[in-house]
C-alpha cells in the first residue's frame, strides 16, 4: 500500500461519519448521503497527491457541488413530509427535526447547500462561495432567500 493510499485510508476512517452527516443534510436521505460521500471520496482520489495535506475543503466542495449537480442531472426531488410538529419548543424534538428536514427539502439544492455549508459547517461566505464555485454575492443572496424560506416554513410549522 502506498503512503498516499494509507493517508487516504486514514482520512476516510476518521472523517467519513462527519461527511455522511453533512451529506445527509444536503440530500435529506441517509442512503443518498452515503452514496454521495462515496462519490466524493472516489473523485478526490485522482487529486489526492495535491490535497493530501488538507483534503477536507476539497472533499466538502465536491460533496456540495455533487449534491447540486445530482439534482440537476437526475432531478432528484425528495418526497417531503406533510407532517408538521404540533408545537415548537426550545428543545429540538423529533417533530422539530422533521419540520426542519421538510423545510430544507423545500429549498433549491444550491440554497440547501449554502445553508448547510454556512450554518452547519460554519464556513464563511467566501469559503462557501469557493466550495460551490459561485460568487460571494450569490452566496449572500441565496442565503438570504433560503433563510426567508425557512422562516416561512417555521411559521407554517407553528401554525
Amino acid at each position: 500500500m502506498s503512503s498516499a493510499e494509507e493517508q487516504f485510508t486514514a482520512y476516510v476512517g476518521a472523517r467519513r461519519p462527519a461527511l455522511v452527516r453533512t451529506a445527509y443534510l444536503l440530500t435529506g436521505s441517509a442512503e443518498d448521503a452515503e452514496d454521495l460521500v462515496q462519490t466524493a471520496l472516489i473523485k478526490a482520489v485522482p487529486k489526492w497527491g495535491r490535497i493530501a495535506d488538507d483534503p477536507e475543503p476539497y472533499v466538502r466542495a465536491i460533496l456540495a457541488r455533487e449534491s447540486v449537480n445530482r439534482w440537476r442531472r437526475r432531478r432528484w426531488r425528495e418526497v417531503t413530509s406533510d407532517m408538521l410538529p404540533e408545537t415548537r419548543t426550545a428543545e429540538v424534538d423529533v417533530a422539530g427535526r422533521e419540520a426542519l428536514r421538510s423545510a430544507l427539502a423545500r429549498l433549491a439544492p444550491r440554497q440547501r447547500a449554502v445553508i448547510v455549508l454556512r450554518y452547519y459547517e460554519d464556513m464563511t461566505e467566501r469559503q462557501t462561495a469557493e466550495a460551490l464555485g459561485i460568487s460571494v454575492g450569490t452566496v449572500k443572496s441565496q442565503c438570504r432567500d433560503a433563510l426567508a424560506r425557512l422562516r416561512v416554513s417555521e411559521l407554517a410549522a407553528l401554525s
Partner: protein, 450 residues
C-alpha cells in the same frame, strides 16, 4: 436564529445512523480506475476534436488544397507517354500553375459527375484542374470550337460566354461575347471582345502559331418585331488576333482582299490551310504574308460530304480522318498531289504532324467487350506502319488536345501522378470516426451509470 439553526442542523444531522463499515482500499482503487478512464476519455475527446478540426478544415478548404503534393521536378517539355483518368480533388492551376501544358483533357470527376478541364504539365506531368474565367461550361467539351491548346501548350484559347444569356434564348445556341486566352503558366487571361447587340456564335477557333489565334464568329441577329435574339446566325468572318501583341484582331483575307470561305486547319507554325471558295482550291496561307500562299491538294470530305479532322504539315502535306462506309480512315495528300489512303487505320482524329513523315492520330480499336477503345498512335505515312504514341486509360477519356509543338519529341514516362487525396475522403473519415467515437463514448457512459 443562526445559532439556533446551527444547533438544529447538527441535531438533524445526528439523525443519520452511523454509516456501515466501508473498505477505503476499495474506494481508492475505484478512484484510480476512474482516473484512468477519464484520462483515456480525455485522449479520445482530444482525438475527436482533432478529427473534427481536420474535417472542418477539409470543408472549408477548396477541393484539392488539402494534400497538395510537392511540385515535381521540371524537365524539358514533352508529351506524357500515357494518360490517366484524373483523380479526385485535383489542385487548381490558379493555385499552383503547372503550365505549359502538354495535354488538355475534359474529364468527369466526382459524384454526381462534374466535368472539369484538366491540364497535364509538359515539364512535370502533373495534372491540374483548369477553370477558364467567363468560358463555356466544361460539360460542352471541346467540340470543334470550345477550347484550343496552343502549339507550345502555353495558352488555352476559349470563347467567352455572354453574361446573363442562356442558350435557350438563342434557339439553343450559346451567345458569346468574344474570345480569350488563358496563360497556363500564370493563370492570367486576355480577352478580345466582339461588339454585337445579341452576341456572336462560334464558328472556328484555332492557333496559327503559338501567339496568333484565328477565330471566326457569326453575329446573332434579332428576331423581327421583337427585341429578342433570333435563332439565326450569320456565317460571319474570321480574324487573326496576336495574343502577345498590343493590336486588336485583323480580318483574315486572301491576297487582293478575297474573302475566305473556310479555314480548315493550321500547321501550328504560322500557316493556315484555307479554302477560299468552298471545296475547290486549298492554300497554305500565312496571315502576315498572304501573297506567299501555297496551293495544296486536300482530300477533305468523306463519302457523305461531311467535314473531317485535318492536320497540315509544314511542307504542305495534309492528313485527314476521311470517311467510308466502315467509318473513318487515315488519308494523306502529298504536296505533289499524290494521295494515299490507309483504310486499315481507323483514324477518327488527327492531332498533327510529328515530322515530315509521321502523323499522330487517334485510332479506334475494337475490344473484347465489344465497347471499343481508343489509342493515340504515330503513323509513318511512307509505310503505313503505326506505333503506340500515347497510351490511353482503359476507362474512356474524351479526346484530348495535344500541344502540337511537342509531337516531334518522343513522349516520356512521367509515371503515375501523385493524385491529391480528395478532401471529401478526410471529411468522410473524420465524420465516420466522430460518429464511432461518440457512439463508443455513449456506450461507455451508459455502462458507467449502471
Amino acid at each position: 436564529m443562526t445559532e439556533q439553526l446551527h444547533e438544529r442542523l447538527a441535531d438533524l444531522a445526528g439523525d443519520v445512523a452511523t454509516p456501515a463499515p466501508l473498505d477505503p482500499a476499495g474506494l481508492w482503487h475505484t478512484g484510480k480506475r476512474r482516473q484512468r478512464r477519464r484520462t483515456a476519455a480525455a485522449a479520445v475527446a482530444a482525438c475527436v476534436v482533432v478529427l473534427a478540426g481536420v474535417s472542418g478544415a477539409g470543408l472549408l478548404l477548396p477541393s484539392g488544397d488539402l494534400s497538395q503534393a510537392p511540385s515535381a521536378t521540371k524537365t524539358a517539355p514533352a508529351l506524357p507517354d500515357r494518360l490517366h483518368v484524373p483523380g479526385h480533388g485535383l489542385i487548381s492551376n490558379e493555385d499552383d500553375p503547372a503550365g505549359p501544358f502538354a495535354v488538355l483533357l475534359s474529364a468527369g470527376q466526382g459524384w454526381p459527375v462534374k466535368t472539369s478541364l484538366v491540364g497535364v504539365s509538359a515539364t512535370t506531368g502533373e495534372y491540374r484542374r483548369v477553370t477558364l474565367p467567363g468560358g463555356l461550361p466544361p460539360e460542352l467539351g471541346f467540340s470543334e470550337t470550345a477550347a484550343s491548346l496552343s502549339p507550345s501548350g502555353r495558352y488555352v484559347a476559349y470563347w467567352l460566354q455572354r453574361p446573363g444569356d442562356r442558350a435557350d434564348d438563342h434557339g439553343g445556341m450559346e451567345a458569346l461575347s468574344g474570345v480569350a486566352v488563358y496563360d497556363t503558366r500564370t493563370g492570367k487571361v486576355r480577352r478580345e471582345l466582339v461588339d454585337a447587340p445579341y452576341g456572336i456564335s462560334a464558328w472556328a477557333l484555332l492557333w496559327v502559331d503559338d501567339s496568333r489565334l484565328y477565330f471566326r464568329a457569326g453575329e446573332i441577329g434579332g428576331a423581327p418585331g421583337t427585341d429578342r435574339a433570333s435563332s439565326s446566325r450569320a456565317i460571319g468572318r474570321g480574324w487573326v488576333w496576336d495574343v502577345d501583341g498590343v493590336q486588336r484582331r485583323v480580318p483574315l483575307a486572301m491576297p487582293g482582299g478575297e474573302a475566305i470561305d473556310d479555314v480548315v486547319a493550321s500547321d501550328g507554325h504560322g500557316r493556315l490551310l484555307v479554302d477560299p471558295r468552298g471545296g475547290s482550291r486549298y492554300f497554305l496561307l500565312d496571315p502576315a504574308h498572304p501573297k506567299e500562299a501555297q496551293q495544296v491538294r486536300v482530300r477533305r470530305s468523306d463519302s457523305n460530304g461531311t467535314s473531317s479532322a485535318v492536320a497540315a504539315s509544314r511542307d504542305g502535306k495534309t492528313a485527314v480522318a476521311a470517311g467510308d462506309e466502315h467509318g473513318s480512315f487515315l488519308a494523306v495528300t502529298f504536296p505533289d498531289g499524290r494521295a494515299r489512303n490507309f483504310r486499315d487505320l481507323r483514324a477518327f482524329d488527327v492531332y498533327g504532324w510529328a515530322d515530315a513523315t509521321h502523323v499522330v492520330v487517334g485510332l479506334g480499336a475494337p475490344s473484347e467487350d465489344g465497347v471499343g477503345s481508343t489509342r493515340i498512335a504515330e503513323v509513318d505515312v511512307t509505310t503505313g506502319r503505326s506505333a503506340p504514341f500515347i497510351r490511353m486509360p482503359s476507362q474512356q477519356l474524351n479526346s484530348p488536345e495535344l500541344a502540337s509543338d511537342l509531337l516531334g519529341t518522343p513522349p516520356v514516362d512521367r509515371g503515375e501522378p501523385d493524385w491529391p487525396t480528395d478532401p471529401r475522403v478526410f471529411i468522410g473519415l473524420g465524420v465516420g470516426a466522430l460518429v464511432l467515437l461518440l457512439g463508443a463514448l455513449g456506450v461507455w457512459r451508459r455502462r458507467e451509470q449502471r
